[in-house]
């Protein structure tokens, strides 16, 4: 049953993709490998891999006000300026977190994700629990991620689809005024660009 593939969540299902799925499903069924182990492997290798692109975008936006403006106006274009592409013709919209507004991203129907800039989606992003609860109880979900927001902060939840993918521009932490763009890149973690975490202030230099 692939009904939901017709409602804007169309994915290219090419032969290689289908064969990969088939191969994985057979090997898992036979107990030769487990989905969790594959997840762990992918996570280990991509950890400091995929999200780097997004971190560069964020650091540029923090240090270059003109770029920040272009990024918020047309994410796809501004991200392309740094040499990164959108996923198969989908647009990337960048949402700015501020002290008053907190944005978080979900894909309620499957797991659309801006993978060219954030790498592969984390396992929890694809989980039924996150997909269903992010919209209904965003604050509870955020607090499970360790993020407690003040009641006065407005939480906006954005549902991705194959045409539009969202990336969050997190707030620049205090105490980073003297840091270079390159140093800032190292601070930006994936979860902050999905909007389930803030970026902590770096420990003061000794």
């Amino acid at each position: 049953m692939s009904g939901h593939h017709d409602d804007g969540h169309t994915h290219e299902q090419n032969e290689a993709e289908l064969r990969t799925k088939a191969l994985e499903s057979l090997l898992v069924e036979k107990g030769i490998v487990s989905t969790d182990v594959i997840d762990d492997v992918v996570r280990a290798y991509e950890q400091d891999i995929g999200p780097m692109n997004g971190a560069k975008v964020v650091a540029r936006a923090w240090t270059d006000p003109d770029y920040r403006e272009r990024l918020l106006k047309d994410g796809t274009m501004a991200i392309a300026e740094l040499g990164f592409q959108g996923a198969q013709g989908s647009e990337i919209v960048v949402l700015e977190n501020t002290p008053e507004t907190h944005n978080m991203v979900v894909c309620t129907l499957c797991s659309c994700y801006p993978w060219p800039i954030l790498g592969l989606p984390p396992t929890w992003y694809k989980s039924e629990a996150y997909r269903s609860r992010a919209v209904i109880q965003p604050r509870a979900v955020l607090s499970e991620f360790g993020l407690e927001l003040d009641e006065s902060v407005e939480v906006r939840v954005w549902d991705s689809n194959s045409d539009v993918r969202y990336m969050v521009l997190p707030e620049r932490p205090e105490g980073t005024e003297a840091m270079s763009e390159e140093e800032l890149v190292g601070l930006v973690k994936r979860d902050s660009m999905i909007g389930v975490a803030k970026i902590p202030s770096p420990a003061p230099a000794v």
Binding site: M1, S2, H5, H11, E12, Q13, E15, A16, E17, L18, R19, T20, K21, A22, L23, E24, S25, L26, L27, K30, I32, V33, V37, I38, D39, D40, V41, V42, R43, A44, Y45, E46, D48, I49, G50, M52, N53, Q88, C110, S111, Y113, W115, G119, L120, P121, K126
Partner: protein
């Protein structure tokens, strides 16, 4: 326990080198990452030596000198070929399962 990236996988011989951009691994689509993870996980589980996978991949790459196919398509062919060779699966059941996904007879799609 999260596996740590293995140097023999991070640093593959030049002719079979993983696609990278600015030092970072590049997956053109999520399935490529999945195929990557699957090959590494099978190796870690002891299904084959990494060198066996590399020679299988190298054969696929050499068979496509004009580079018509994407790197991970060759990766996948090499992986499927090795899985068959090692008796983990049969080519026939792989084709059947692929067909089931294609027709929607089977669907555990969560991407």
């Amino acid at each position: 326990m999260a596996p740590t990236p293995d140097r023999q996988i991070s640093n593959m011989p030049e002719e079979v080198e993983l696609p990278r951009s600015n030092g970072e691994l590049v997956f053109e689509a999520p399935w490529e990452g999945r195929a990557f993870g699957l090959a590494v996980a099978l190796n870690e589980g002891g299904a084959y030596e990494w060198s066996e996978f590399v020679s299988q991949l190298s054969r696929e790459i050499k068979a496509d000198p004009s580079e018509e196919k994407a790197y991970y398509e060759k990766w996948l062919s090499g992986l499927a070929g090795l899985a068959v060779k090692k008796g983990l699966i049969s080519e026939e059941e792989l084709s059947r399962r692929t067909h089931e996904y294609e027709t929607g007879e089977r669907n555990d799609d969560d991407h």
